[in-house]
Amino acid sequence: MTSAGSKSPSRTASSGCASDDSILVIRDLAYARGQNRIFDGLNIDIRRGAVTAVMGPSGTGKTTLLRLVTGQELPDQGSILFDGEDVARMSRRQLFKMRKRVGMLFQNGALLTDLNVYENVAFPLREHTKLPERLIRHIVLTKLHAVGLRGAWQLMPSQLSGGMARRVALARAIVMDPEIIYYDEPFVGLDPISMGVVVRLIRRMNDALGLTSVVVTHDVDEVSSIADCTFLLSEGRVVASGTPEDLRDHHSETVVQFMTGMADGPVPFHYPAPDYGEQLLAGGDQ
């Protein structure tokens, strides 16, 4: 489970989940939305400098986990330590201070629709720094160049494809040189070329800028090619963790079903329902 060695040349030498240097530590996390218990005793360590994938079937609370670790929601129980500080106990001022050290890429990019590409990327700099315009321009163009969209600086978000919007959002996420970036389903709805570009960018940015990346996704193949460590969530807790290879060799039915994409298994194909025959014969309102 620990550094089992990476077969992918793109991963770092020290692959795996175990670490003495964790930037994010989640312990005994419990969270429910109404009657729906989403997490129950969740434990995760995010190793500094690694690309960590958090996978799981739809509805397992992957996006909710990102909302919890960024302080957008509060857990019912447990702790979320970001660099030793409990996110759940932070004041709003402390949360905002923490978020300046964090980048987040939303599923749809979340670009501000009334600003063009350049202004979107410059937005955090303008809000948090008093840098001269020349320097802001230099930084913005550097970040846009890194994601291959320097030429698109004048475009409005409505003129961008899904892949381009996500790359602009990535440029914006790294413009303040964060320590960690959270990616929420970064591959959803992308064509193979855009997906390949985003996959490579996540790894390249992580290594070139010395970041820590947490990729929440259910795209097994894409994330397996770049992740150092993978956590598989199911029913509110981690059911398996390790390198992508560890997970592929896992014998648990839940892990096998998820990694091979089987339609039926511990996660059933059918939503719980009464007997088919009885329901058909019952008629009426059912």
Binding site: Q72, K97, K100, F106, Q107, N108, A110, F123, E127, A169
Partner: protein
């Protein structure tokens, strides 16, 4: 039978209770939202460009609707006033009647209702869509408070635009009344203007209209940004928030108008 009646009454009482609780919850939340807006005002005031842009969006872009509406309301006032006042031989006073009606009541109230339909819906749906497309969450994740950056400039833009629009509405209404009364119906032009000049007081009439429109601007802008900010982040949620913003603003303006009128006339 008695049991059924008692049960129905109990259910009715419960429903009324729930509705009242919901109303007071929203009322309280709205007040707290206003406090957050006021607390965050210095940020927006230090960036006047953001406010000016919103004055343009809510005010300048509403000009055509406001001017057209004011013009036709003024014409109708003159026409109705002429038909009624001519029975008493007092048709020369239609300028005064139209002006008083416009600056004291119709200008502020109709402007606020039109504002709710034109600018209020735009504000609610824009902010609601920002919520639905994670733009507000994205801003929070960039350590920027959306109340400061998005809500306060839009609120202030509406508050500034409303009295200006109301004055323009009244001016266009008076122009419409002049066109209908003097040019079309043949009322004496000198009497039209002199009656107006003699009877319309700047402080009592014009300023009371402006004061009303400031209150309406606060209410309409607050309800629009509140509904948009707190909407359910779905297409249906944004639609409902927009509808609520218009309905609540319209009712609030009418109730507020009565209260303000009673207050402003209180000294007499």
């Amino acid at each position: 039978m008695m049991n059924d009646t008692a049960r129905a009454l109990r259910r009715l009482a419960l429903e009324v209770g729930y509705s009242l609780r919901g109303f007071f919850e929203h009322f309280g939340a709205g007040q707290l939202f206003l406090v957050r807006i006021i607390v965050n005002m210095p940020y927006a005031l230090a960036r006047p460009g953001l406010i000016i842009k919103q004055v343009y969006v809510t005010g300048v872009l509403s000009l055509v609707v406001i001017m057209l509406a004011g013009f036709f309301v003024g014409m109708v006032l003159a026409l109705q006033g002429f038909l009624t006042l001519s029975r008493f031989g007092a048709e020369d006073t239609i300028g005064m009647v139209a002006a008083l009606g416009l600056v004291r009541e119709l200008g502020p109230v109709v402007t606020a209702l039109l504002f709710a339909g034109r600018a209020g819906t735009a504000l609610s749906s824009e902010i609601g869509l920002m919520r639905a497309t994670d733009q507000l969450s994205g801003m929070e994740m960039m350590a920027v408070d959306p109340i400061k950056r998005i809500i306060v400039p839009r609120f202030l833009g509406g508050v500034i635009a409303m009295p200006i629009l109301a004055v323009i509405f009244s001016a266009m209404g008076i122009f419409g009344a002049w066109l209908e009364g003097v040019i079309i119906l043949g009322v004496d032009e000198g009497a039209f203007w002199s009656q107006m000049q003699a009877q319309v007081d700047l402080r009592e009439d014009v300023m009371s209209g402006v004061i009303k429109s400031i209150f309406f601007g606060i209410a309409a802008s607050l309800l629009a940004v509140y509904e948009g900010y707190n909407c359910v982040p779905t297409a249906e949620g944004v639609g409902r928030a927009t509808t609520r913003a218009v309905v609540n603003t319209s009712l609030t303006v009418l109730v507020l108008n009565f209260m303000l009128t009673a207050w402003l006339l209180g000294g007499k």
